[in-house]
Symmetry: C2
Subunit: 428 residues, 2 copies
Amino acid sequence: MHGQASLVDTSMNAEILSIGDELLIGQVTNSNASFIAEQLNTVGIFADTMTTIGDDEQAILGAFDRAYRTHDVITVTGGLGPTHDDITRAAVCKFFKTNLTRDDEALANIKGIFAKRNITLIKRNEDQALVPEGCIVMQNHVGTAPGYFFERDKRYFIVMPGVPSEMKEMMTRFVVPFFDKRGIGTSICHRTLKTTGIAESLLAEKIGDVDRLFLPDSGLTLAYLPSAAGVRLRISARASSRPEALRLIQEVEGKLRTMVETYIYGTDTEELEEVLGKLLAERNLTLSIAESCTGGLIADRITNVSGSSRYFERGLVTYSNEAKIDELGVPISMIEQYGAVSREVAEAMALGIRTKSGTDIGLSTTGIAGPTGGTPEKPVGLVWIGYSDKYEATALRFNFGDQRLRFKERAAQAAMDLVRRKLLKIGV
Amino acid sequence: MHGQASLVDTSMNAEILSIGDELLIGQVTNSNASFIAEQLNTVGIFADTMTTIGDDEQAILGAFDRAYRTHDVITVTGGLGPTHDDITRAAVCKFFKTNLTRDDEALANIKGIFAKRNITLIKRNEDQALVPEGCIVMQNHVGTAPGYFFERDKRYFIVMPGVPSEMKEMMTRFVVPFFDKRGIGTSICHRTLKTTGIAESLLAEKIGDVDRLFLPDSGLTLAYLPSAAGVRLRISARASSRPEALRLIQEVEGKLRTMVETYIYGTDTEELEEVLGKLLAERNLTLSIAESCTGGLIADRITNVSGSSRYFERGLVTYSNEAKIDELGVPISMIEQYGAVSREVAEAMALGIRTKSGTDIGLSTTGIAGPTGGTPEKPVGLVWIGYSDKYEATALRFNFGDQRLRFKERAAQAAMDLVRRKLLKIGV
């Protein structure tokens, strides 16, 4: 068994296998492995290894064999599609020394999908209903290729399509409930506190030594995970039961919150746009946005939340000076005097969009996303974020660097966090 | 050696090791591995295995050992940060039986960064300048932790920080040029043709048997890679030289283009927004956008392109009916008669934004992103995409399913593709 052995005595370990040349040449980022790991964790199964190999029978069989010898649970994704480079199914048959058999339910599903989409069924699609004998067939409710679930030699061998939405549906509908019913004995729980607006090292200074948070043998760990959106603090706990693990986490979370509360905008998978949406909805407040350098990213994120139409009224992407003048009533003289990237224009944009749309809050961004267009006084990366409500208009200055996409991401995050802080009356 | 052996006789193989509990519990998606693989490919090094393990010394040493025995090139990322859970450096020292030594250049770099950001230097940052003896130190130009490059026993062992921007800078400035100068002998080249607006199975039918494209032993492969943005066709070639590999690819690309040309909007890492931007700039045309259901995503993507201010004038996110009426002059009677999600409103929005902003082209979206809000006549997933130029106003109807984020992505892609097709006078 690989690593972490001292902590996983009674839990099952897993290896997550991903198959596909597209992963090995770096064309596609492997998002399946992280999803599967997270889901298995919820039922006490810890993935200690993730392996990616190509569409090559020898490599696939080698990986199957090694994973099967060293792990309780093996998940396999990829290579179940309808085209010639999909060879996982054949490898599974070879590994388990079994043959293919037609699954009527899978065939009916495939036919149904094609009928619904009004597309003629072709043989290569029909062949996806051929499954290895002796497995439990996991029907595909969102696509054509079924998955296979083998329970043998106290091992669980789970084969799923590589299309993320199809794999996810199978994991949540079949795989997780299966293990949940069995009950594993050890529970691994995680909680992530998402911070923004503070650097990793400063956060570490404020929190100090982890010994202040928990004892070395408590089954607890703390990790710092930086990203453009901010640093996440992940607390992990292993205990004999889920309630016990959650209790341990809660204790540490409480201590952390006393140290860095104002920087924490959410937990786990919560996005800042969701948190902000809830705050606005609770207060019955509406928001409008005027974006220049973020180019629509804030509006895009706000509207990623279902139900955002309750508080998000409209957004403007005023990229040109003309658009700032026409749409937001920014005085031309102000742009001439201070430049489009200035405190004055940011405030005027926020005020302009709020007044025009009749919302409670107006938010704006104006900056230099780069990589070109900077000057010594106004370098690439400079951004002014403007805020307006019926009591005040204000603007904050940041520098978010010269990488265009990261700049946009950080600026959008800081803008949304400004509104969060205003709503919670946290100093900015 | 693992898989693909018959094709990589003279090239070097690589294993990409990623270290970090955050990857194993699924909190973070591993984007480093794909970037490294892609970069190594350009210098003829093929990653046949990617492995992810946790912040656990035993697991790390086990993986180092296995990778070192089976691969020519081993890359390691993660665990070089300033906090307690970063243990990669100690494991590297143990593996190579070496000690830590202070690197003055690394220390100067760290001090410089802290001075520039005006943050007090603390010891845990200073310690990042301690590096294993006997390695080439890869200085970190965008962060604090240096990387380590070992050349031993005809093996290359490369350790880099896990922060993507830092790793990327080291790969492109140091690692890739290093191998490029050496010259490897075999060249692996890839070319991806990016299609949109056509299903994978229909594409496969149009293209037919791969034998029509190339002989089985030609060193060529073709893969289908579906995503929300469309299906990508990846051609890979291995040959004794880069020109030869490129010649093979060009031949297959030519054949594919005769079959499915109009669906191909770009190649390799080209995004539709870049292609569209070039088409607009070449024709000296300007674009404005009125988005409802896509919520700013199209404007966000358009403005991800540096220089987009030349052709992108403004965007409106008219989420409410009021915004559609006020901002775009959509008649209230039209919304009452046909509903906000209708051909009529989509066309009126496109016309409205074009007229208001004085651009050559107006583009609009109106739809039901879901997961709730559908009716039997207008189900979740329905979207109308509107287009207006001085000759015509038109709208197309699509259904992009009930997963909100995927819906937005597909709708934004289809909208941009509509403009591409209009500019290229391809039928829609």
